[in-house]
């Protein structure tokens, strides 16, 4: 037989063997391995333990108790986070801002430090970074361990199991509910948490839509604006309820949009990505408390905090520089605000807010302080603080200043929506890039919410004005 004949025979045999013989061969190998393993292995009787799991599962995933239990547990987690974070946040603010900042300023004045130390480093970089740490660290340090404990116990996969139906209908994976919930703490952590989704398409969807979960850096903005502007519409007794409803409403809009965008993406841009589903419901086990706290602090909190600090440093410098570099006695910030004002007006915001959102890309936490600082800078009512120095006021003072800056109810509504729908912070963008390894998907995740934010606020503003609202 010569080579040609051999090849010919091989080709003929190949036709005869039929299609999918690779699959069949592999399946037989797997099956034989399983049979051999079954024969060689004896399993200790684990029945009783298993029965307890089933009983618990029947309650946790039941039609009647499943969802109320879930809502109750997560409300509890959020309540503990918000309440618990208050005190450490205040301590950190006291140490860094009320004691540390004047102390450092004193030293620099005494030794007569040059502007780039006194202004750029202290007023700019130090203040912005200290701000981010004191607002960001405590909630993360509480939320992540709590969340990880629920995960370790085995409850979170059951949540994904309960919610999968809704996510399946929008072309996503049930576990996206978990990365979304993680996103309520921090979007960067939520993007990392999307690793638990092993199907490539659904994982990308979860990463791209994570920004629609209001993160820890945006909750304070929502709550503050809702309290000052929305709550004020109702009689004092109902003010709290109304502002809370407004915040919950924005959150729900975020959840709805994340499902809607998932639906759209899975049918268009992500159609060709490989998609599989499987969800393991591991046995319940007592959570390993100390280990969990340690790993969630190291893996989640500290890594994200570190990234946030890295990005907050240049942001602080930029904020200080644009407020202090002047051309013919007008600061750079004022020029940019002037240019952006027409665009801001079109979407019911103003130049100050847009500038704040640009310089505060590194951290949503400093949006409100930046807006306040810029408002003072522009109105020239140079309060207690100098240009480029972030500060915070009490509720009344903030509202007074914002009203003086030309804010209306429309501005408040729009900023709540824009805070939900804008680009993710730079930490998150960087994390998305690290996780997907793709510039294209990073760009989609960045600009899609921004475009949606512009569209929605534009629509609301113009309709508002059309039907006679002021603003």
């Amino acid at each position: 037989m010569n080579t040609k004949q051999i090849l010919q025979t091989a080709a003929t045999l190949r036709w005869q063997i039929g299609q999918d013989f690779h699959e069949k061969l592999m399946e037989d190998i797997y099956t034989n391995a399983a049979v051999l393993a079954d024969r060689a292995m004896t399993r200790p009787d684990e029945k009783p333990h298993f029965d307890f799991d089933r009983k618990l599962d029947q309650i946790v995933t039941s039609r009647i108790w499943g969802f109320p239990m879930m809502i109750l547990l997560f409300t509890l987690v959020f309540w503990i986070t918000i309440q618990g974070a208050n005190y450490p946040s205040q301590w950190l603010a006291t140490i860094f801002l009320e004691i540390g900042y004047p102390f450092l300023k004193n030293i620099s004045t005494t030794i007569g430090a040059p502007w780039f130390i006194d202004g750029l480093l202290l007023d700019g970089v130090y203040l912005a970074t200290a701000w981010v740490i004191s607002v960001m660290l405590p909630p993360m340090a509480i939320f992540f361990p709590l969340f990880t404990l629920l995960e370790d116990f085995g409850y979170l996969p059951r949540v994904a199991f309960n919610l999968d139906n809704a996510f399946r209908k929008s072309g996503a994976h049930g576990k996206q509910s978990l990365s979304m919930m993680m996103g309520f703490g921090c979007n960067a952590a939520g993007v990392v948490a999307a690793r638990v989704i092993d199907s490539p398409r659904e994982r990308l969807i979860a990463i791209i839509t994570n920004n629609f979960a209001l993160c820890n850096g945006r909750w304070p903005t929502q709550i503050l604006i809702a309290t000052l502007f929305i709550g004020a519409l109702a009689p004092p007794a109902l003010a709290g309820l109304l502002s809370a409803t407004a915040v919950v409403g924005v959150t729900m809009l975020g959840v709805f949009l994340s499902l809607a965008v998932s639906w759209g993406l899975s049918r268009t841009a992500l159609k060709g990505e490989v998609s599989t589903f499987s969800l393991e419901l591991p046995p319940y086990r007592p959570p390993r408390v100390l280990q969990t706290i340690y790993t969630s602090l190291i893996d989640r909190t500290l890594i994200i905090l570190w990234r946030a600090i890295i990005f907050a440093i240049p942001a602080g410098a930029v904020i200080w520089l644009i407020s202090n570099i002047t051309i013919s006695n007008i600061s750079l910030a004022e020029y940019i605000i002037g240019w952006l004002n027409p665009l801001g007006f079109l979407i019911g915001l103003n130049g100050i807010i847009l500038v704040a959102y640009i310089v505060a890309i590194p951290a949503n936490e400093i949006i409100i302080p930046t807006i306040l600082m810029l408002t003072v800078l522009v109105s020239g009512t140079n309060g207690d603080a100098g240009a480029g120095v972030l500060f915070e006021l009490g509720n009344d003072g903030t509202k007074e200043l914002l009203l003086a800056g030309g804010w209306t109810l429309l501005t408040a509504v729009n900023i709540m929506l824009f805070s939900l729908l804008h680009n993710p912070c730079s930490t998150t963008i960087y994390t998305i890039y690290k996780e997907t390894g793709s510039r294209k998907w990073t760009a989609v995740a960045t600009f899609l919410p921004l475009a949606m934010g512009f569209g929605l606020t534009f629509l609301i503003t113009q309709l508002w004005r059309l039907f006679g609202g002021t603003g």
């Binding site: 080709a11 999968d164 589903f277 419901l281």
Partner: protein, 359 residues
């Protein structure tokens, strides 16, 4: 400042413009791209493919029929075909078109590209059945022989595309499918689906919806002019004859060739909560990443699976598989074929006897 109504109208206008330009398929930009794609080369390749197909069906092709397939005016088609004749791809005699050897070679290259690409889409991407054909139609004109060989090697030199059509070999040899349309099958004779025609898409969509796939066994129950009724994939199917005509089947000559678990099974999705079943196999339509995932989870012939609980929405359902609790969605559970534990024990016994007797 700008009047809100004007602003809204301008925005609506802009949105409208963007939609008209970028709307998939109907938008100006996709159409412009489609127009650019339809170059002379692509058109002549499409013509070659069509003439080859008619030759395989032992039917002739005319200038009119080619014009119809290319959606092109008669005179322009005639010009195109004349150029192709000059290039030595075909001959025109009495309005009948015949491929030359060179023409046939080039037609086979396109068909090979088309079918290999469909195989690729089916095995390696998340596109669904309905998307395969259209995407392959675009891609088939863009691949060189070297690229095709590389793709074939990457896919493990597949012999058939996902519809059951044979993929021409690199040397141009192609197997001819010898089967007959499903309605012509006699009742109660077991047969195997060897091909599903993917054109027109609307009929193909119906076949997909029925969950049919090449490699499945069928048993005809009733075939009349009004309807075709048959068993396949653990359920009875009812199709209009015109739809059933797009299914090609081959009788299974030797009944012993059918393993019992290939015909007599239920689907995992039909398991009641608390009920157990033994895996008989995974449906041939389940391929690529999904199939591997199933095997990784230990869903293999002989594995016992118990339905444990369903989620509050009814889907997914959690199954106990080899001591682990795994949730699967309904459309996945439909891919897994099971038997009752008694059936499985019986079969294992028969196999064991056969094995020990050295059969």
């Amino acid at each position: 400042m700008i009047d809100p109504l004007t602003a809204l109208l301008i925005a609506a206008g802009l949105t409208g413009v963007i939609i008209t330009i970028f709307l998939p398929e109907q938008g100006l930009y996709p159409r412009w791209r489609e127009g650019r794609r339809m170059t002379k080369r692509v058109q002549s390749e499409d013509a070659l493919k069509f003439i080859h197909k008619r030759e395989m069906e032992r039917r002739g092709s005319t200038v009119e029929s080619v014009a119809g397939v290319l959606h092109k005016r008669m005179d322009k088609t005639a010009v195109l075909l004349t150029i192709m004749q000059k290039d030595g791809l075909l001959t025109i005699e009495n309005n009948q078109l015949h491929l030359t050897n060179k023409g046939r070679e080039s037609a086979l290259h396109i068909i090979r590209a088309h079918r290999l690409w469909e195989r690729y889409l089916a095995d390696k991407t998340g596109y669904t059945e309905a998307d395969w054909h259209g995407r392959a139609e675009l891609r088939e004109h863009e691949m060189s022989t070297a690229e095709l060989d590389a793709l074939a090697a990457k896919l493990g030199n597949p012999t058939h595309d996902p519809h059951g059509d044979p993929i021409p070999r690199a040397d141009g040899e192609v197997m001819i499918i010898a089967g007959r349309p499903l309605p012509a099958t006699t009742c109660d004779t077991p047969a195997r689906i060897i091909h599903l025609e993917d054109e027109p898409p609307i009929v193909y969509a119906q076949l997909i919806a029925e969950g049919l796939h090449p490699g499945m066994n069928i048993r005809m129950v009733e075939s009349t002019n009004e309807r075709v009724r048959f068993w396949s994939n653990g359920a009875e199917h009812l199709l209009a004859p015109i739809v059933a005509n797009n299914i090609t089947v081959q009788p299974i000559p030797n009944l012993d060739d059918i393993k019992p678990d290939e015909t007599n099974y239920r689907l995992l999705s039909n398991l009641e909560i608390g009920e157990s079943g033994v895996v008989a196999g995974i449906a041939p339509s389940c391929r690529g990443a999904e199939r591997r995932r199933f095997m990784d989870l230990g869903i293999l012939r002989g594995t016992t699976i118990t339905a444990e609980m369903s989620s509050p929405g009814g889907d997914p359902t959690a199954y106990e598989i080899r001591g682990a609790l795994i949730a699967l969605r309904e459309n996945q559970a439909k891919q897994i074929r099971i038997q009752s534990p008694e059936q499985a024990t019986q079969q294992r016994a028969t196999r064991w006897i056969a094995h020990s007797q050295g059969i």
